[in-house]
Amino acid sequence: MTSFMPPADRIWWKVPVGKQELVWIAIALVWCIIMFLMMPLWHVYGKQNLSTEAYQTTPAKFGAKVEEMVSKYTVGKEAGIPIVAPPVGSDIYMLGRLWQWYPVLKLKKNQEYRLHLSSMDWQHGFSLQPDNINLQIVPGYDMVLKITPDKSGEYSVICNEYCGIGHHTMVGKIYVED
């Protein structure tokens, strides 16, 4: 009745609040604070944190770096795309373009790499399956993250940012060897 009538008390902001609401607000606030603390804590104790390292770049510049890596460390070809096995700990590159992930990477288990990601054209979504790690790939930005593949096997990179009619054909590969 009163939700659509002016409050019964002219000075409604001075009416004391019931115990039940106060208790709930307190509980909810504590929970919000816990959720807040989890994020910085994970930066300290957790292993999955997105790096914030990124550089502005251009498709031409980024493409040149990719080609440099490809020309040095190609070890084979899959479906016409080079398979590249870069040295452990090095800067490795993968680019998204209409409609492929390039090149295929071959990595060593439990070793750290500096992975650079960017797009040559539109936005793409780097989605590593089956681990389900998802990153937004934005043209003009070189995103750098340290990755440590901790399981061996074949991984697929699918695109999960809509990028036009061939979006669903964008499948790339990362192999992790023992």
Partner: protein
């Protein structure tokens, strides 16, 4: 000149101009919902991989149109009707500058049509987010700009009406809580539209060739300042409607005016920056900025929703207990009018919004957890729980209330209306839960083919992902049936329902048409008085007034905590990165 009528059933006063604006906004909104719902058939039958109905280009076009018509046009047109209701009707005040109101409405309409024309021409399948540098036709953006300008004008008519109400002293004391909620929605709308203008105008100029480059990351940040806060308009509006329905059906009074209003204010203060949760896995955004904006900004708004989640059902419980339903924790709820679609739709909305939409939203809005969720089908599952079972279902509840009150028609097929919230809410909940599951398995959103046909390299989802998508699709079809039931009842009632006396049919209330003497016979409504004070004895003296609601709230909290930590555990299992 007498320009007001009073609804004999509800006691609400309607000013002629406000009434016609409410009607046209609501009707056009429902038409947009109809379009979106029809398109949803194409979306679900394509995402159900065993059916895989539409070809890729049609699918992306249909999905673009589905998102825009549903999220923008349906919700915002309907919200304009709510704003006029919350100002003119609730405050018993004439509408400020009706002509501007109509101008705003027509601009919105032209914009909506223009945008749809661009999308259905097939050359603007860019999704509602229209991320640059993918480009749509210029009139795609222009349509959205006109729509936004029109909405802004109507919002200012709303503010103008509030000013008139205050100057002419049409009410005593402070504005009612529902109006207060509408004011928050309107303030957020101004911010939203401003952000929209900042990003869409340059994008339009880029599409016509005057601007050569738009930074893709900058676009995302500003676009989401609009995209996110527009969701906050929806939430503020539907929470205001929850309070309204609790008041109308149960005579419930807010447990505490102060707490509820404070919670609405939190929406304004803390949600704007929460657009950060859309760019948690974007390049180069600092961790501090993300943590600040997802916690400080988002959690205090989450807190606000948790408060409303207690006080809305709590006020119903107190009212029901006052009527003698005092047995145990839940007699008040068992004996609630579950056969009344206004109540059942509102309550299903409250529960699904809180338990599914709220919890999943906070989880995926956590800085690191977003890594395992971003852009999977989990995301649309989450926002169908907020914007479909939340906002849309609430607006459906309000429509059932307004058919007799605003349109003065008797509802046709009451049995269908009675079932509708269960079919729509139930089907949608199935769709949501199963898409949430598929999303955790990595199924992508906005994706035509789970089989990746034509890809140079193969990838297969686990078989269970297909099953989840199929069951979800069946739920989706059920929801579409629920949507058709809603449209049958509402449109059918407007066209064929028996007019109620005094009648003010949709045409009679339009400007220019002769007034029906029987309808608009009031020159000045009675002043809106403050709600009567509670008898001292009605205060329950310090204890818990609504223990059943408190138990439900604790259940929500436990679910929340458990699900939250499950997701951290899942995150811990993926490749270390930093």
């Amino acid at each position: 000149m007498a320009e007001f009528r009073v609804c004999p059933d509800s006691g609400f006063y309607f000013h002629k101009s406000a009434e016609s604006l409410m009607k046209v906004n609501a009707v056009v909104g429902v038409v947009a919902l109809l379009i979106a719902g029809l398109l949803a058939i194409g979306v679900v039958l394509t995402r159900w991989q065993e059916v895989h109905w539409l070809p890729a280009d049609t699918f992306y076009m249909v999905l673009t149109a589905h998102g825009i018509n549903a999220l923008l046009f349906w919700c915002i047109f309907f919200e304009m009707a709510i704003l006029h209701f919350a100002s003119s009707t609730l405050l018993r005040c004439r509408l400020a500058t009706p002509r501007w109101g109509w101008a705003g409405f027509f601009l919105m309409l032209i914009g909506a049509v223009m945008n749809n024309v661009a999308v259905f021409s097939g050359k603007s399948s860019v999704m509602m987010t229209s991320y640059v540098p993918m480009q749509a036709e210029p009139h795609f953006y222009l349509g959205l700009i006109l729509f936004a300008v029109g909405a802004l004008i109507q919002v200012f008519v709303f503010f103008g009406t509030l000013v008139i109400a205050q100057q002419e002293k049409t009410y005593e004391g402070s504005v009612p809580l529902v109006t207060f909620g509408a004011i928050t929605a309107a303030i957020i709308a101004v911010f939203t539209i401003a952000s929209g203008a900042i990003i869409l105008i340059p994008t339009y100029l880029w599409a016509v060739g005057y601007v050569s480059h738009i930074d893709a990351e900058m676009y995302r940040v500003i676009w989401w300042a609009m995209g996110h806060s527009s969701q906050q308009i929806n939430v503020a509006a539907h929470v205001a409607v929850w309070y309204l329905i609790a008041g109308v059906l149960f005579g419930a009074r807010p447990m505490s005016e102060k707490v509820s209003r404070f919670a609405f204010l939190l929406y304004i203060f803390f949600l704007q920056l929460a657009s950060a949760h859309h760019i948690l896995v974007d390049p180069g955004i600092s961790a501090e900025w993300k943590i600040f904006n997802t916690s400080y900004a988002m959690y205090l708004a989450v807190l606000a929703s948790m408060i409303h989640g207690l006080t809305v059902p709590g006020s119903i419980e107190v009212a029901q207990r006052g009527k003698g339903f005092t047995k145990g924790l839940f007699e008040w709820l068992r004996k609630a009018p579950w056969g009344n679609p206004v109540f059942s739709a509102m309550f299903i909305s409250l529960v699904t919004f809180g338990f599914i939409g709220g919890i999943t939203g906070v989880v995926m809005g956590t800085e690191q957890i977003n890594l395992i969720i971003h852009n999977t089908i989990y995301v649309p599952a989450h926002f169908h729980a907020t914007v479909v079972t939340g906002t849309t279902l609430t607006f459906m509840a309000l429509t059932y209330l307004l058919i007799p009150v605003l349109f003065r028609k008797k509802m046709i097929f009451p049995w269908m209306a009675k079932l509708q919230p269960y079919v729509f809410g139930g089907g949608m909940t199935i769709l949501i839960l199963f898409m949430l599951g598929a999303g955790t398995l990595g199924v992508a959103r906005r994706h035509w083919d789970m089989d990746f046909a034509g890809a140079a390299m193969a990838f297969e989802y686990p078989a269970i992902a297909y099953t989840l998508m199929a069951v979800g699709a069946i739920g989706g079809l059920l929801a579409i049936v629920g949507g058709i039931m809603y449209l049958t009842v509402t449109v059918g009632s407007l066209l064929f329902g028996k007019p109620l006396e005094p009648s003010a049919g949709i045409l009679e209330s339009f400007a220019g048409k002769p007034l029906q003497a029987s309808a608009y016979d009031i020159e000045k409504p009675e002043k809106l008085m403050m709600a009567p004070k509670l008898e001292e004895s009605e205060h329950s003296g310090g204890g818990f007034e609504a223990p059943g609601t408190f138990a439900l709230a604790m259940l929500l909290l436990v679910t929340f905590v458990v699900y939250y930590f499950i997701n951290w555990k899942y995150l811990a299992s993926v490749w270390p990165l930093g």
